[in-house]
Amino acid sequence: MEAVTIHFAPKTGSEEEWNEAYARLADYFRSFRLHNRIRRTQLILETLRRAADAHEADPKRTPTAHAIEQARLMLREWLGQIYEGMELTESQIEGSGRLGFHLCDGPTRWPHFFIDRDNLPPDMAEAMRSAIRASGPRLQVSKMTPRAIDLGLFGDEEEDETDRRPFAFVRYFVLLLFVAAVLTAVYRLTIDK
């Protein structure tokens, strides 16, 4: 097995600071659900190298800040390449772009090509683009205007028609008689003779 040599010698910043930057980057890339550790390590190293250069130019900021900024720039460039021509704003490319990678199951299907500007599988790019094309149903605006309710006393009632079924009068009369009979019976039962 060949030995793996990692070249990373930042000219500025302490070892402790770069260790912290490394740990933060590791956590950050893990949050993309990249379970492929080799790809993750490659990304971390590439980002750290870019961050080292940036830190040399601006040592006031911490290596962690530079590292995350470089990760953001790399991601932006990569997403910009994929979503080119889709008329998205910068923040949309960042937000929707990341989401597109998740929606097309990128972390599982194309982990090796995450932030790889030189290798863009066409099916991955298309899957990411089509994932963010889906939008909500078209609005069909309608008016829903409250009508005033006339709170005046009662007034007109509904349109009831006369009961025209056979023997309507007789039926209602029988019902009335029944009610009257029961009331009379109760009255006679309870009233003192």
């Binding site: 590292a67 937000g95 069909q140 309608s142 006393l153 079924r165 009610v179």
Partner: protein, 711 residues
């Protein structure tokens, strides 16, 4: 639409006028008879030696109370009769669908809308999944779209809803079928949320099925409801009977049992006399959208909130407006396929009642308005009476106490006879419906076929009578308070309804809530003792319930719900239908997962949107770009810096929501947190960054069951 009830748009779906009239004449004749007899007997009891002012008062409050008792009694009895009639109810809308209709394709588009406000996200989305899959099984899914309409102002819930929506769409392959909308300003609460949907998307759909956050409906019932609406163009709103499910506390299970056992009879009875002028209960109902949009927008009431202003209990008013516009509002008496959850404890029930009370009391404005159908007017009256009856009962008892204190008993043979008759009659009105319904269950096995279960049901019914006897006086006191508070102009805040007990019983809450009630019970008992032992005996059931309110509330909040003894069982508990089986299984899967640290669990949504690149991307994508972001740029930068350096507790919930509404701030926050040195981060974020990847292998499925993606 003027101040007159319109002619019916179509008679299809509405019982004929003559049928409605005959039914109502019969029903209200019985109600009238029962009420008049009661009043007469009371008058005979009290009229000896003339009537004192308190005796006149007793009769006056007795009239509406006895009317209400009679309405319930006759509704239930007629319901039992309808359920046992050899031939089916001729006005049953299911009869309008023929076998050919069942095979015919659907032509209508239906939106299923779920308004949510700070609800349990897992329950909402797993409920939605169960409904979606159930519809899918009918083969008619393509005719339905789903809308989650959020008014949540809890930032955590908001993000959880977004991730829940995305993950559910991903798992079900339902992008373009399930939609999520968050309102920035929740104008007019739930009814405003529904109106907002109607204005934006209403024209796309012929029908809308309104859900509550905890509603579940089976696919077959929803498809049949659409078929019924198609076949009966005169129906504007079709309301189902939502059965309570999922209770795990003693009180919750008893309420669930009572509703399952007694509910169908009451629903059948209501359907008998309400006919085409039934009520809308706000959810688990299908609505014809065109007339709803045209006629059912709610105007504000005169006067200020709470008694005026925005109409809170919108459902009754929408039903009345729909009928006024000439469309029938029907109740569909089925006890399968439509479900909801109830409050778990007495305190939760009272909190809900406080809101409902205010909403129903507002209807007083509408009681005398022009143009309502008389039954719509009556529905308003019954709604008001469901709360006003409590202070009336209280006044009745107070006047009774004064009468006893004055040394007035029931004198004379005639008065004594009338009193005994009245007692018998009242007991009959209270207990006969339950007795008849239980007998019906024992004989027919409507709920359960095995005889043992029927017997257990009968025994459970006896026990629930005892429980309701203890509960009623407590409810009386609280409802009386609510009515008084409403009259005095105290509003209620809009809070999410608790549907599960969650972390167990907090003993302080019942003690603080019911302490005053118990003291009142003791004081009234002492007074009654000094008046007379007979009076104390007469009023003791009420006073005992008040005295033991605290232990009663604690005991009924317990998770020991006697299920293992086979008591208070419902068919849905014993043999859950497929839609509930799926829901229960998924909820269990989520519930059994190991929990995160409480601080992280409580703020998980916020952690996700700040740290997770995908959730952050989702949230930013769903936000609308603000027109003038530079106006508040500095303010948002200040809030974001505070959030990073001091943690989420340093911001108020409004400030948090404000930050999360700003696209640039949310994007920036993500990088700001990840790039900050440890010493510049609040301890909360240090912990979150370290633990985030460990606790969340997939943050999108944290709140949902993990299922294979549907092809």
């Amino acid at each position: 639409m003027g101040s007159r009830t319109a002619q019916l748009a179509s008679h299809a779906g509405l019982p004929s006028v003559t049928t409605s009239r005959m039914r109502r004449a019969t029903f209200f004749s019985f109600v009238f008879l029962g009420t008049v007899i009661g009043i007469w007997l009371l008058f005979l009891m009290l009229q000896v030696d003339g009537m004192a002012w308190y005796e006149v008062g007793i009769i006056l409050v007795f009239i509406p109370l006895y009317y209400q008792l009679n309405v319930g009694f006759w509704t239930a009895l007629i319901g039992v009769w309808i359920m046992n009639r050899a031939k089916p109810d001729p006005v049953d809308l299911f009869r309008t669908i023929t076998k050919d209709d069942l095979d015919a394709p659907l032509h209508a588009t239906t939106a299923i809308i779920i308004p949510v406000y700070n609800e349990d996200v897992t329950r909402v989305f797993e409920g939605l999944r169960a409904v979606y899959n159930s519809l899918n099984k009918t083969g008619k899914l393509e005719h339905f779209d789903f809308f989650i309409l959020s008014d949540s102002d809890d930032s955590n819930k908001w993000i959880e809803e977004e991730t829940g929506w995305l993950e559910l769409c991903r798992q079900l392959n339902a992008f373009g079928r399930i939609f999520y909308r968050k309102r920035r300003t929740p104008i007019n609460r739930k009814s405003g949320n529904v109106s907002d949907f109607c204005r934006r998307w209403g024209k796309r759909y012929r029908y809308m099925i309104v859900f509550d956050a905890d509603s579940v409906m089976s696919g077959s019932l929803m498809v049949n409801m659409v078929r019924i609406m198609e076949k009966n163009p005169g129906v504007g709103i079709l309301q189902t009977f939502p059965k309570q499910i999922g209770a795990d506390t003693f009180l919750g299970r008893v309420m669930q049992f009572a509703q399952a056992l007694y509910g169908p009879a009451f629903i059948a009875g209501l359907n008998y006399w309400q006919c085409g002028e039934a009520n809308f209960w706000g959810h688990n109902a299908i609505i014809r959208l065109a007339p709803f949009i045209e006629y059912c927008a709610l105007p504000p009431l005169p006067a200020k909130v709470p008694f005026g202003g925005h109409i809170m209990s919108h459902d009754f008013v929408e039903a009345a407006l729909m009928r006024k516009a000439g469309y029938a509002v029907r109740l569909i008496p089925t006890d399968h396929g439509s479900y909801e959850e109830g409050p778990p404890t007495l305190i939760d029930m009272l909190k809900r009642d406080r809101r409902w009370c205010l909403g129903n009391m507002q209807h007083f404005w509408l009681l005398f308005a022009r143009g309502w159908h008389p039954i719509s007017r009556l529905n308003f009256f019954h709604g008001i009476m469901s709360y006003v009856s409590s202070p009336l009962w209280l006044i009745f008892l107070v006047l009774g106490t004064i009468m006893a204190g004055m040394g007035e008993g029931v004198m004379g043979q005639q008065a004594s006879f009338a009193g005994q008759l009245l007692l018998l009659l009242t007991l009959m009105f209270i207990f006969l419906p339950k007795t008849v319904i239980v007998m019906d269950e024992v004989v027919t096995g409507r709920m359960f076929k095995p005889f043992r279960l029927r017997m257990l049901t009968a025994f459970s019914s006896l026990l629930d009578t005892l429980l309701f006897t203890f509960m009623a006086p407590v409810m009386m006191i609280f409802h009386s308070k609510f009515v008084m508070k409403t009259i005095l102009g105290q509003g209620v805040s809009w809070v999410a309804q608790r549907r599960k007990l969650g972390s167990g019983i907090d003993w302080r809450e019942p003690i603080l809530t019911f302490g005053g009630t118990s003291i009142l019970g003791v004081a009234w008992g002492v007074l009654a003792f000094f008046i007379s032992s007979n009076f104390l005996l007469w009023i003791s059931p009420v006073l005992l319930a008040l005295v033991v309110a605290i232990p009663f509330a604690i005991m009924t909040s317990s998770n020991r719900s006697l299920q293992r003894f086979g008591l208070f069982l419902t068919p849905e508990e014993l043999h859950p239908p497929p839609v509930l089986q799926a829901l229960n299984q998924h909820l269990k899967e989520v519930k059994d997962r190991p929990k995160m640290q409480p601080e992280m669990e409580q703020r998980y949504g916020l952690i996700q949107v700040c740290l997770d690149p995908y959730v952050n991307g989702l949230h930013v994508s769903l936000l609308r770009r603000r027109k003038h972001p530079h106006h508040s740029r500095e303010y948002f930068a200040y809030l974001a810096q505070k959030l990073v350096a001091q943690g989420p507790n340093s911001l108020s919930s409004k400030e948090l929501v404000a930050v999360l509404y700003d696209q640039d701030s949310v994007t920036h926050l993500h990088y700001q947190l990840w790039s900050a040195a440890d010493e510049n981060l609040a301890p909360f974020w240090r912990l979150a960054i370290r633990q985030y990847n460990l606790v969340a292998p997939n943050p999108f499925t944290h709140l949902l069951a993990q299922k294979e993606v549907t092809a």
